[in-house]
């Protein structure tokens, strides 16, 4: 096993800035779920001068649209979705204090610039490890945008949720470093 860093939410700026690209983490506490449709609504609310349904200061958003829970389950399968679809909205939410994002895949330079500016972290969860990840989710509670179904804004209570820091607050990108290390081209 690579060394694991345990973190709890809320995550303050100092804690976020101490995380480095390549760190394996386990997250415990409350995190929020939102995909592109919920992001669009949140940013539109801000543009109208309204408050967000939740205070995102020092919080983490997990990009996930879970499958439905069977009777007796907290949540269905719950792996990360592709983060790039949220790139258009993420900098605005970081301006509101958003400290972390969990997803999978590449981010735009605008997102990385905002992460450096505000001191935020981008974590990758293992795409397609949806059944394993679901076991770390202890509570699922829809907070807003219920009509979006799997895409609603929800609050998750997690214990030892596994993730990897892929882009840190200095803008170091572990996708790029990892690929270059193993490239034989």
């Amino acid at each position: 096993m690579t060394d694991v860093i345990r973190i709890t939410t809320p995550l303050d700026e100092a804690a976020a800035r101490s995380l480095k690209a390549g760190d394996s983490v386990r997250i415990t506490g409350t995190i929020f779920t939102a995909r592109d449709a919920a992001h669009k609504r949140m940013v539109e609310a801000l543009e109208r001068g309204e408050n967000l349904p939740v205070d995102l200061h020092d919080q983490i958003i997990y990009y996930v649209g879970p499958s439905p829970a069977k009777p007796g389950q907290v949540i269905g399968a719950a792996g990360p979705t592709t983060s790039g679809r949220m790139d258009r909205y993420a900098p605005r939410l970081m301006e509101e204090g958003l400290r972390g994002m969990i997803g999978k895949g590449l981010r735009s330079s605008e997102v990385v610039d905002a992460m450096k500016k505000y001191g935020a972290v981008y974590f990758a969860a293992i795409g397609g490890a949806a059944a394993v990840i679901a076991r770390t989710i202890k509570k699922y509670e829809v907070l807003a945008y219920d009509d979006l179904g799997a895409e609603a804004l929800a609050k998750l209570t997690v214990e030892d949720f596994p993730a990897i820091v892929v882009i840190d607050s200095q803008g170091r990108d572990f996708y790029d470093e990892g690929r270059k290390k193993f490239s034989r081209e």
Partner: protein, 281 residues
């Protein structure tokens, strides 16, 4: 002439929807385990271990392997001596998809209009249905749920005949490298070469339902599959794009005659949860 009830087709499609999403096929599972044993990157090794554990949990608990349970792509080969009775075939397929996705607690990920309303249809219909008429008196159904993390990384290029094998190789490797972590590597790369624009993309999709333990029956294409796998794995993208030796588990190519003036090449990428289930009625 053999008759088959439309209701039997619906039942079969419902079961395939669930089976494909819960049970990773043996060839893919074995390839993940083999990759785990041979991977050099410690982090990539851990990721591959997690993926094989995930497949076991999904199988044992009848839980989706991935929360993106996909849009249902259905390939049907209908024997020309079969008479379907008791309902409309396309409606029967969609009824099966709806039943499977609702009763199986699978995510409904289909929107009715792609551009304007984008309203969820709430039962994952319609399916994308590919029909073929073949000799015989049976119906073969293959259902492949297609997630869009990988689907979005697909590409098509109308190559020139002079681009040759090298042109195909460059296009494939560039596409996989640029996709990086997005399609959830280790991936399966489906490639369609030849035909027309829609034939090539269809073949690329069809390549993804061929078992990855089986190579193209033409030795030239089989060799190209192996060479491309080596090249794709040399990119270093690795499991989840975090670096490693296993970017792809397999490269499957399907080919078809084409026009003297062209060489269409389509690439359809699937994630490590390359899902499909089949039945013969």
């Amino acid at each position: 002439m053999r008759t088959i009830e439309a209701a039997a087709i619906s039942e079969a499609v419902a079961k395939l929807s669930m089976d494909a999403n819960y049970f990773l096929t043996d060839d893919i599972y074995q390839a993940i385990v083999n990759a785990e044993q041979n991977e050099e990157s410690p982090l990539a090794k851990e990721i591959l271990t997690t993926l094989s554990e995930n497949a076991c949990i999904a199988r044992d608990e009848h839980m989706p392997i991935c929360q993106d349970t996909g849009m249902a792509v259905v390939f049907m080969e209908i024997g020309q001596d079969v008479h379907i009775v008791g309902g409309d075939l396309k409606q029967a397929v969609d009824a099966g998809v709806a039943k499977g996705y609702i009763e199986g607690y699978l995510r409904k990920s289909v929107v009715d209009d792609p551009l304007f309303e984008r309203k969820n249809t709430k039962d994952n219909t319609p399916a994308v249905l590919h029909l073929d008429i073949v000799p015989g008196d049976k119906i073969k159904i293959v259902l492949a749920p297609k997630g869009f993390g990988s689907e979005n990384m697909s590409a098509l290029k109308m190559c020139k005949p002079s681009d040759g094998v090298e042109g195909v190789k460059k296009f494939v490797v560039d596409t996989v490298r640029n996709a990086g972590p997005n399609p959830c590597p280790p991936i399966v790369v489906g490639i369609g070469i030849g035909g027309t624009v829609e034939k090539a993309t269809f073949l690329a999709k069809k390549a993804l339902i061929r078992p990855i333990s089986t190579r193209n029956s033409d030795p030239k294409y089989a060799q190209l599959e192996q060479e491309l796998l080596t090249m794709v794995n040399a990119t270093g993208v690795g499991p989840q794009g975090l670096g490693g030796r296993h970017t792809a588990l397999a490269v499957n190519i399907e080919h078809y005659p084409t026009h003297i003036a062209g060489m269409p090449v389509a690439i359809n990428i699937n994630c490590h949860a390359t899902r499909h289930a089949e039945i013969v009625l």
